[in-house]
Each structure stands twice: as C-alpha cells, then as structure tokens.
Amino acid sequence: MANKQPTRAGKDYVRTVPNTWWLKKKTYALFMVRELTCIFVGGYALFLLALVSRAGDEAAFEALLRTPLLIALQIIALPMVLYHSITWINLTPKVMVVFRGEDKVSPALIAGVNYVAWAVVSGVILWIACCKG
C-alpha cells in the first residue's frame, strides 16, 4: 500500500479543477460574467422570434411588447448585452491586427473605430424605428 501515487495515463490524465474556480479571482468572475452574457443574447433572440411571429396580429404583437415580465427581463438583459458589446469590441484589436505599411495600427484606434461604428449603427436603428415606425 506504499504505492499510492496518482497514475498518469498519458492523454487521459485530467487535472481536476473545482467547479467554483471562477470565484477565486475577480478577473475569473468577470470572465464568467462575460461568457454568461450569451444567455441574454440567446434569450433576446427567442423574444424577437416570438415578436415577429405575432407581426400578423396587431393585438398579440402589442400585448407581447407590454408584458411586464418580458420588459423586466429585457431591462436585466440590457446591461448584460452592453457588457458583451464592450468586451467584444475591446477584443477586436487582438483578433484583427491591422498594418499600415510597416506599422501596426494602434489597438486603441481599432477599438475606437468599432465604438464609433457601434454608435452609428445604433443611431440608424433608433432613427429608422422612430421615423419610419
């Protein structure tokens, strides 16, 4: 019984990590929050689908938009989706490295361009909804 060493079976060796690993550090917790924003993105997609499915029925369409529980869920979703947008845009300089000649375009400029594009796109959507809707 002296030989109680853990065995390493090549590729099958899995280092066990407690499931609460993400609570150990603030950066880990923020990472998990970022990953879980996808629940709100997916949930809102389901809401949009339910909404467009009712586009043929005036009363049902308006009733869905005025359901208090759904409004509350969307108000919770809004900061989560904003966190997704911000973390996503902040990663763009890492994902797409742009060169101008020999020089790397600064990460702040790449993220900045994305923030401006986000603002313009949001403005256009709100303008269409306000003026054409």
Binding site: N19, V52, S53, A55, G56, I71, S85, V121, I125, G133
Partner: protein, 111 residues
C-alpha cells in the same frame, strides 16, 4: 489531426458575437423602453417588421445570436464542470440553435 467541426461553430459564434454586439442593445432600447414608454407606437413597429428588408435583418440577428449562444454556452457549461455531459451538451446547444433557426426562417417567410 482529427477532423473537427470546431471552425464552423466558431465562425458562427464570432459572426453572432458581432451582430449581437452591434445591433441588440439598440433593439432592446426599442422593444423594452421606447415602445412601452409610448415613444414609438407598437403599430408602427409592427408595420416596420413586416417589411422584407427588416425581416431579413431580423432573421440574421436571430439566427446568428442563437449560434453565438450555443457555442459560448457550451464552453461556459464545460468550464462550470458539465464536461461529462459530452455529446449531450453539444446536441442540446447546437441542435436547439439549428432547430430554432429553421423555425425562424419558416416564420419570417410566411409572415
């Protein structure tokens, strides 16, 4: 190297990440704030939704958001210790994204 579907799922995740990051906050402002507050009429929004271009736009947002969810949710669940679910987690995530996308396409075409 073993063949993997990973690049396909990752591309869909990434495209959905961009679409949802740029479009969903403004859409939530419309549906959760502007319409209930009466700044935009529900009837006007309903007419806008019936426009073919709006329908195509909403289909792309809905479908890619679902695939974004599927990929990120799968890995988040694995990170939270559900890795032993293996194939079931894959089928649940990517499968529901595929099924709901087909439903969305059918709904938006027959609107």
């Amino acid at each position: 190297m073993a063949k993997s579907n990973e690049p396909i799922w990752w591309s869909m995740f990434s495209a959905g990440g961009v679409m949802s990051a740029f479009f969903v906050p403004a859409l939530i402002v419309i549906t959760a704030i502007a319409v209930p507050a009466g700044w935009i009429s529900a009837e006007g929004l309903r007419e806008l939704v019936q426009h073919p271009i709006t329908r195509i736009f909403l289909f792309v947002v809905i479908a890619l958001s679902l695939f974004h969810w599927a990929h990120r949710f799968k890995f988040a669940m694995e990170d939270l210790g559900l890795k032993q679910l293996g194939r079931f987690l894959d089928i649940f995530c990517y499968g529901s994204a595929i099924v709901i996308t087909i439903i969305a396409a059918a709904k938006l075409v027959t609107l």
